[in-house]
């Protein structure tokens, strides 16, 4: 099982929850998001753009390590991993 933590702003698209779990077997972050998309497509729309890339101002961490400095969506997610999705510090 993979646990995915969401910012509160995405909770309306995840059944009002900020923590969701993926029971399916997932090898990578991308797999976990794909699994999530069937239940909560509005969440995945907001994390990943049409090209399948994590949006510029969104950060995804696996067990507190930024996937930007790992393998992006190809970053492995071992069983029991915690995936944290947050808005980047950028703003305007």
């Amino acid at each position: 099982m993979i646990t995915i933590e969401l910012p509160r702003v995405l909770a309306p698209y995840a059944g009002s929850s900020t923590v969701v779990t993926v029971e399916e077997s997932c090898a990578t972050v991308g797999d976990a998001l794909n699994a999530l998309s069937s239940r909560f497509p509005g969440v995945v729309d907001r994390v990943v753009d049409e090209r399948g890339m994590v949006r510029q101002h969104v950060n995804v961490f696996v067990n507190e390590e930024s996937t930007r400095f790992l393998q992006g969506l190809a970053t492995p997610v071992p069983e029991g991993s915690n995936v944290l999705i947050v808005a980047a510090v950028s703003g305007g």
């Binding site: 702003v9 497509p41 509005g42 729309d45 907001r46 753009d49 049409e50 090209r51 969104v58 808005a87």
Partner: protein, 378 residues
């Protein structure tokens, strides 16, 4: 013509205000003297495009909402913002194979009066989407997506945006669009093919000053009673075309600057156009620190400043391309918002002005709705 209001009867007026941090509605009765502000809707999100559609018995407001972090979508309301569609799915999406991703929705507009299910939107990166179900779902116009000029279009300061869509009310196959920077393009076959229509329009910033395409067109307008006659506010230059953009002639007669963004067609007079000149591309503020709307009543032969009620000292303002609009009433109301967060309005076609709001986030678009249903929803 009004960018969104399609009625001609007098009634309550709602000015729809899109800002960098949300949308606001300003309400008044047909006197348009006293206003009440409602909002913000979509707190923290930019709203670059708003539209009102009253075709087919609807009173539907459209808002293009964009989160810096989480992307953008089209939201709709049938009760003037009391409730909005949830916008769960981001329905304006490039095909995956295009390699493009939506950056911003710059324009939403209803289709022709006799095709009430049709909506259009123009986006960044420059592309056109259409909806055949009143904005529930959107599909890209492939003919423009795959245009051979696409790789040579360049982003302006606001991005590579398709910001204006003009429809021929008589001919469903014909429409014109404007891209900054790309120029004006026109289709005669319902969007399958597009031809650049920029002959005579200057590109100050290119070695070839009169290229086939690549101009930084800031806005084009026309009147439905004379759809073939287009007016154009360029990145330097004011132009008119009498033949749907095949040829353009300079009409910058007596304006303090021919640089600017906003341009507005009078809703009832096909010879009357409004602009808000800015000093230059280097200093994008009102010339001489005076906030002046200029109006022509003879299709660009002459321009006159409209200043009564507008600040004429220390006014370093800017009005962006979609932040100047009209209502459909008679006499027409004229409204504009500034980057400094002010909203001005005139209930007498620009002769006198009053400040409707101040302290808003930077205003990026202003549209109107005129409907008796507006008051019922309050």
């Amino acid at each position: 013509m009004p960018n969104s209001a399609t009625t001609t009867a007098n009634g309550d007026v709602c000015v729809l205000i899109g800002t960098m941090k949300g949308a606001f509605f300003a309400w008044s009765d047909e006197k348009r003297e006293n206003w009440r502000l409602d909002g913000p809707h979509f707190r923290g999100q930019s709203v670059y495009s708003l539209a009102f559609d009253n075709r087919g018995g609807r009173n539907r407001t459209f808002a293009a909402t964009q989160s810096m972090h989480w992307g953008g979508t089209v939201r709709t309301s049938d009760d003037f913002g009391r409730t909005w569609s949830d916008g769960e799915r981001q329905s304006v999406r490039f095909p995956a194979e295009s390699g493009l991703a939506l950056t911003q929705i710059w324009q939403i507009r209803p289709g022709r009066a006799d095709e009430p299910e049709i909506m259009y939107c123009g986006v960044e990166p420059a592309a056109l989407f259409e909806s055949h179900d009143r904005g529930e779902s959107w599909s890209i116009v492939e003919g423009l997506l795959n245009h051979e000029h696409r790789t040579q279009w360049q982003p302006g300061g606001g991005g590579l945006c398709l910001h204006t869509i003009l429809l021929d009310p008589q001919n469903r196959e014909r429409m014109a669009i404007a891209i900054s920077t790309g120029g004006v393009y026109r289709t005669e076959d319902g969007g399958k093919t597009w031809r650049a229509r920029n002959v005579g329009v200057r590109a100050q910033f290119l070695p070839d000053k009169y290229p086939e395409f690549g101009q930084c067109v800031h806005k084009i307008v026309h009147h439905p009673s004379r759809p073939e006659r287009l007016f154009l506010q360029n990145h330097w230059g004011l132009y008119r075309s009498d033949d749907w953009g095949d040829n353009w002639q300079d009409i910058a007669n007596g304006v303090p600057s021919d640089f600017g963004f906003a341009m507005l067609m009078h809703p009832h007079d096909p010879d009357a156009v409004f602009i808000v000149p800015l000093e230059s591309d280097e200093f994008r503020c009102t010339p001489e620190a005076k906030l002046r709307v200029y109006r022509t009543r003879d299709a660009g032969g002459n321009w006159e400043p409209l200043t009564d009620g507008l600040p004429q000292a220390d006014a370093y303002e800017a009005v962006l391309r979609d932040a100047l609009t009209t209502d459909s009433m008679n006499p027409a109301g004229i409204y504009f918002g500034t980057r400094s967060g002010k909203l001005f309005g005139s209930g007498d076609e620009g002769s006198t002005w009053r400040e409707i709001a101040d302290g808003l986030p930077p205003v990026v678009c202003v549209k109107t709705a005129v409907t008796s249903a507006a008051s019922e929803a309050e």
